[in-house]
Structure formats: structure tokens, C-alpha cells
Subunit: 391 residues, 2 copies
Amino acid sequence: MDPDLSQLDERLADHDVDGYLIDAASEDADQYYLSGFDAPDPFLTLYDGSVRLLFTRSLEFGRAKRESHAKTVERLTDYGYDDLLDSYDPAEAVVRGRAAFLDAYDVESVAAPPRFPLQTADGLREQGVDVVVDDSETVTEIRASKTDEEIEHVRAAQEANEAAMQAAEDLLRRADADGDRLVVDGEVLTSEWVKETIEVTLLRHGCALDETIVACGADAADPHDRGSGPLEPDEPIIVDIFPRDKATKYHADMTRTFCAGEPDPEVREWYDLTERAYRAALDAVEPGATGKDVHDAACDVYEDAGLPTLRNDPSTETGFIHSTGHGVGLDVHELPRIAPDGGELEPGHVITIEPGLYDPDVGGVRIEDLVVVTEDGHENLTDYPVSLVVE
Amino acid sequence: MDPDLSQLDERLADHDVDGYLIDAASEDADQYYLSGFDAPDPFLTLYDGSVRLLFTRSLEFGRAKRESHAKTVERLTDYGYDDLLDSYDPAEAVVRGRAAFLDAYDVESVAAPPRFPLQTADGLREQGVDVVVDDSETVTEIRASKTDEEIEHVRAAQEANEAAMQAAEDLLRRADADGDRLVVDGEVLTSEWVKETIEVTLLRHGCALDETIVACGADAADPHDRGSGPLEPDEPIIVDIFPRDKATKYHADMTRTFCAGEPDPEVREWYDLTERAYRAALDAVEPGATGKDVHDAACDVYEDAGLPTLRNDPSTETGFIHSTGHGVGLDVHELPRIAPDGGELEPGHVITIEPGLYDPDVGGVRIEDLVVVTEDGHENLTDYPVSLVVE
């Protein structure tokens, strides 16, 4: 896929610089998007109207020439690196070779992403190159609006995700209570067992398994706890799955909260409230609305019910203690923000809607769908029931 | 595990700075090592004689207080972040909150890793904090020397790795030639099938599957090509597996090259040569030897046989076109370097030895073991036969 980089051209003009520079491995989604190349070690991508790659070592050179969409692919050896090593230490030789590369394309000033490596920036500055931070993260911004092809990649990952969620729910359905444990076929059902079921399912659907959350009780009260150990009957169990399709590198993301047995009335109330917050937030998703509007819709439901949110109590450690959602694409968390600082939604934005409630004394409840903003509203990419109790 | 940070104290004195600062998520191994905390989003770790964490959002706060080995765990809200947001944009408010955090500990100057984010560095500099690059990557250097506990983590990952390699070899052993394809139970054997077998095996052994290489023919001639499509009889198939243990986050790494059928005489010659280079490099591993010495031992074998290496031809795209090895730990590629610029080996260094030969006209051959440098030589953590032909 050749990305539309016209927004980057505009930003370079705004910054009054000659080029945009990324120094990162392809696990950095901006690097992968701009370079069109997948490499495990950092390399340099220059955009000066054309995409140009520079490698330190030879290892990736041949493959980059074949696979990337770059106009030029070069190596430091093409810029006197081996001679530079006679006079300078390796870090300094790399910087001087890179400065020579920029000079060859008449690039005297560059904008760079906020997380651009300080060593490269300071080194280039010493060589007379002007380096400014692109606070607005232009490549990340460009990535937020997906093409139809990218949306299909997310949809495919989400289908794998739903197969994995189904496998997890099926396993929970087979469980019986035995005191304060759940057991399946006489074995204690653990978070690890459910995660393995999820992950093997994802693998068989071509997805890499980043981490998975299967969290029960106090574990579930911490939104980032992955969960561990035996799962309990009658307790809410948060299952949050966010796979990456190995072929396309695009992610999906969804959460359901299940209870095997009879939930406590407070958990049932929290679930119903969270489902209302989720539906209110979904209703707010349309072009022209902001991420803040959507987040506010979820906060309103919780606050009206008397529960704390970060909006009405920034230091709270219980209640609704995260944002309502985030963009999903090459990164599982990317723009736009569905949060207090969330800007305007546009068609092609792929976002999660995932309100939740947390308290170590109660547990945790979260419901999360993945939707794409369309010209006249949104399309829900998630096709999975919303139901607490596993019958 | 509480790391021994005395080397960091010395480096701070060398740099004449008050602290060491990391701004990264825990996928950055230095961050994970220094903070003792696993979080998916970037946070700030200050070392000023004590480890101190600062979070932007509340989300990780509770867990960090419980799980990290930090002396203090704080949030930007503790440094007036919410008021700052009334006067500044979020990026500026974050920097000013962070500057207030540093000021609270009388930290006026910091050293930072080479890949420290430029935006944070420039922002802190504007607030009067002196930020210098720690070219020597002190935390990465400290991580290179493993404790006994860390070596056990690597050993456990390597045992899972060998189970996965065995599963791959067993599958290849079941294959029959059908024209230019390998078939198992009537199905065409593909790179993807072997990888799935490897990855499910790793998963069942508690390992996360980073990518896996199963590359045949021209794919195998590119050391970083992951391989795809049908595998061929009588051709060398490189299987390179580098799992991460999910519980400990430590990696293992090993490669074998298999041939189902009768290898071409040139492939056989390349294999025998590579096995000699591998044994020569292994023999060179002992404390006091340098990574360069070990790399030279492998290059000598290849060059004596008339094959090109990057040592005698820096621009070659065939022959021995990578370094002999690398450190393995929290990162699958870390210090020390077993390469032209590799420094002195010390007991506790965990490294790979992985010479190989590549040419699109022939294919690729690589043999890789994982070893730990000991007081009087090395211990091979790999217990897997070295044999080309799958009988």
C-alpha cells in the first residue's frame, strides 16, 4: 500500500523544513507505514517528497530494495562509513554518514516524531542539520484515517478475535463451581488455561498473540492486570483480546465480561450501567463529533449514577478510571483519542468504545467493541453478544 | 529481582549529572530492568540513587505501587498537572509536570539512553534541566551480565525452544517428496505449517511467539526473511526460533538448518564449513576474549575456504553477511556484540554463536547455539544435535 502523504507535505511546509526523518525499527508503526518495510532493527527513513531508506548494516539491504515502497534504498557504506570508522567511534561515524546522506539530497533541516532518538538528533545538530520536533505526530495522524484496504485488515483481525472470544466463552460454559473454584473436566480452570485457549485459536487464525487479559476478582479491578490463577464462580471475569494479524500487522480489540454462575447484585448493576455507558458512547460516534464528546457520553452515565470518573475526580482509583477508547490499526493503541483531549472524528477512523468500572472490593466490568466512523455515523465491526452470565 | 546498579552510580559521577532518566514503555528492556515494572505505555523512571517512577495517567499507578521495586511511585497530578492543563497544551503540561518532579528531588541534570525521546529532552532543556546522552548505554551494559537467576530464565526459555525445534524436525521427518514439493499426509508442507507447529509448542511451554523463521531456497538466502509457502525437498531449510518466556520476559535463540532429502554437494559443503566456523567460534568463547576474537574465528574459517565475509568485503551481499552473534536476555538482540566492534567477554554474558552462508543461487545455511560465558570458558545452554539431513 502506498500511503497518501500529502498531509506530510503540508506539515513540512508549516515547519519550513526540507524533510521528515524517522529513526526506528518497524515495530514503530510510523516507521512501518512511512517506509513500507518490516525490519527488526532501527533504520533511517527520510521523506523529502520521496521516501528514502538508509541502512547501517547490509543485512536488510537486498530485501528492502525488493519489498519497500521507497524510491531509494542505500547503506551507510555508500556514504563513506568504513572510512569514517577509521577516524571516529561507531556512533559518531553513523551520525556523520547519515549527515552525508541528508546532504546528498540537499536536506538541511528535518522535522522528527516526538519519540525520535535524542542521540541521532543531537548528533545531526552537531553536523549542522536543524532538527525540530513534530509535536503533532503527523505520520501518526495520517495513520488514524484508514483506507478501505486497511479497514478490511482490521475486520479480518476482528473475525479471528471473535473466534477466540467464542472459544473462551465456550470453555467458561463448560465450567462447574467447586467451592470457590471453577472446574472443567475435573481440572481447576485458570486464567492461564483460558488464555492458552484464546491464543491457540488466534494462532490458527493467523494472528500473533500480544498479551491477553483474562482477569477475575481483584485482578479485574486493575484495567491493565493480565490476570492469573484460578477463576472463581459468581465473579466477573474480564476477557480482553487484542490480536495482531501477522500478515497485515493490523490489530483488532474487544472485551467482554463473563460470569459463570450468579453475579452479585452490585456486579449486575455495574454491568447494566456499563452497557448503558457503552451504548451512549456508541450513539455519540459520528463524523464531526469529538473523541471528547464520546468520552463525555460515557462519563455522564456513570456520574449520573453517582459513580466516580476521572472527569469528576482526577485522583480517583476506583470507578471509571480510563478513557472511553482509542484508535486501532498498526498499533493497538493509536489516534484518535476517545478521551478528554480527543479531537474531531472523521470517516475512516477505527476506534474502540470500552467503558468499565473497577474497585478492588467488587472486581471489574468492561465492555468493548471496535467500530469504524463512516460518512453518516459508524459501522460496528464487532459481531458478538453483550451478555454477562454464561448460561 | 533488584538489579545491581553500582555501575550506574559510577556513570552518573562520570557524566557529573544528578540522575539517569528513562522515558519508555516496558517493552524497552532498559525501562523494564530499571523500573522493575511492566506497563504497555511510556512512563518516566528516574534513578538518583533510588528508583522513582512517574506516571502520566492513573491507570498503572496502583499496580506500580504493588509490583515495581521503585522507592517512590507518583503521578503527574501530584505535580500540578491538572492546573498546568489550564495554561498549556498537553505536551507542554506533561514536560512542566515532569520538570517539577525532577526539581522535587533536586535533580538539575540527567543522563539518558541514546534512544531517549527528543520531545522530552528538548522540553526538559527548555525548563532548565541539563540532558546529556549516555552513549555507553549503561543500563544495557549492566543487563549484559546476567545473574544466576537470569541465566535460569534463559535456560528455561531454551528448553521450550528445543521442544519447538524438535516438533519442527519431527514434522519435516514425516514429509515425503512429491515433485518439487514436500507433502505430509497428502498435504503440501509449507513454511506456515511448520511455524504454526513451532508456535503452538512454544505457547504450550509458556512462551510468547515473536516471529519465527522457517525459510527455504531463495527465502533462506536472506538472513531476515521469515519464509513463506511450500517447502522443497533436497533444499536447505533454515529454522530459527527465538521465543520469549512470558512469565520472566527472558529470551532464548537457536537455529538449525534441515534438509528433507538429499542436499546438493555445494549445500553439504556449506553446511560442513558452517559447522567448522561454529565450532571455531565456540572454542574462542571465554572470559577475556573479545566479541571481535570470536567473530574473527568464524570469519577465518570462511575466508580460508575462499568465501566472502563482510570482514574482507564490506559491500558483499553473499557469503557470511552478518555478525557471529549477539547477547540474549530481556532483548533477543542485546549486548555484548559478537562482531567486529565486540568488546571483552565476561562471566555471565549470554550470547549466540550463529555463523551462516547465504546466496540466492544456493540458499542459506546457519547453525546457532546459545551459550553463557563462565569463569573458565563457557557453558552451552543448547542441547540439540547438529545435523543437516533429516533421516
